[in-house]
Point group: C2
Chain length 132, copies 2
DNA sequence: AATATAGATAACGTTTACGTTAAGGTTATT
DNA sequence: AATAACCTTAACGTAAACGTTATCTATATT
């Protein structure tokens, strides 16, 4: 099994964040890499995937706490029917939330477009006046 | 002209935020209501609109600083051609940004959906096993 | 006019998400 | 084996975005 392994600065470089940030996410329990004999962090592919999720979540306004709960969802490995049901329910909640985020952003988008067309309008008017 | 006017707590109630927050946005220059003779804040419809924008921006991960710049764009009233061009350029930048936010969220959405279907799969398997 | 409710400023406190040293230990390279 | 490059924990610092509290003033209601 060709399991890629990354050091903390490998990931820091790749995602353009500080090693401090990555350690901070670990402090908060969002990620938990293996350690070498010398106690240095070694990240697997799935750790890398988690980190990607963390950064995506952050970009869209989710707090580390919320992201943490989403990650729990991601690595739910339980075989208990009731637990799975709870997890699915939580996932559906988050889906709703994400969808409402998308809607809100689309609203912002359309307002921005309106704004732009108003500005373009004014611009062409002024340029026409300039022509004379 | 039937100009609606709101007190600070009117808006706080409507948007479910604290009056402190609204005052804070004013401190940061994002909103600037009229004052009564007794120095109390009175918000117009357009102030209310700005506040809505502020909250929307915040929900989607924009900092008050970024939102501030977007608002400047909204109330740009300049007649200077060059200034308008600059404003349009900035608006286009923000549009791009919003669109990439939307894309990212859609990615999150599809991963969430995948996750959910995997969980549903496991659930039905377990329930089938339970049946026997 | 008196009282209740609401609003003002101002100062200090708090949480989140890191940045920045400091004082070392580990790994890789020559 | 020595040196550079990288890593560790730990502690303190910081910026953003408010919350909280105190003290005082305005407005609304009976």
């Amino acid at each position: 099994m060709n399991q890629a392994v990354y050091s903390i600065s490998d990931l820091a470089r790749e995602f353009e964040i500080s090693a401090r940030s990555i350690r901070f996410y670990e402090e908060k329990g969002l990620i938990a890499p293996q350690r070498t004999v010398g106690n240095q962090r070694r990240y697997s592919l799935s750790d890398r995937y988690r980190l990607k999720w963390i950064l995506r979540g952050k970009r869209f306004g989710y707090s580390l706490d919320e992201i943490s709960r989403m990650l729990e969802l991601i690595d739910s490995k339980t075989e208990a029917i009731d637990q799975i049901k709870v997890t699915i329910a939580y996932g559906e909640e988050k889906l709703q939330d994400i969808e409402s985020h998308i809607e809100g952003l689309q609203k912002m988008r359309s307002e921005m477009l309106e704004l732009k067309s108003r500005l373009l309008q004014r611009l062409t008017e002024l340029e026409a006046k300039d022509q004379r």
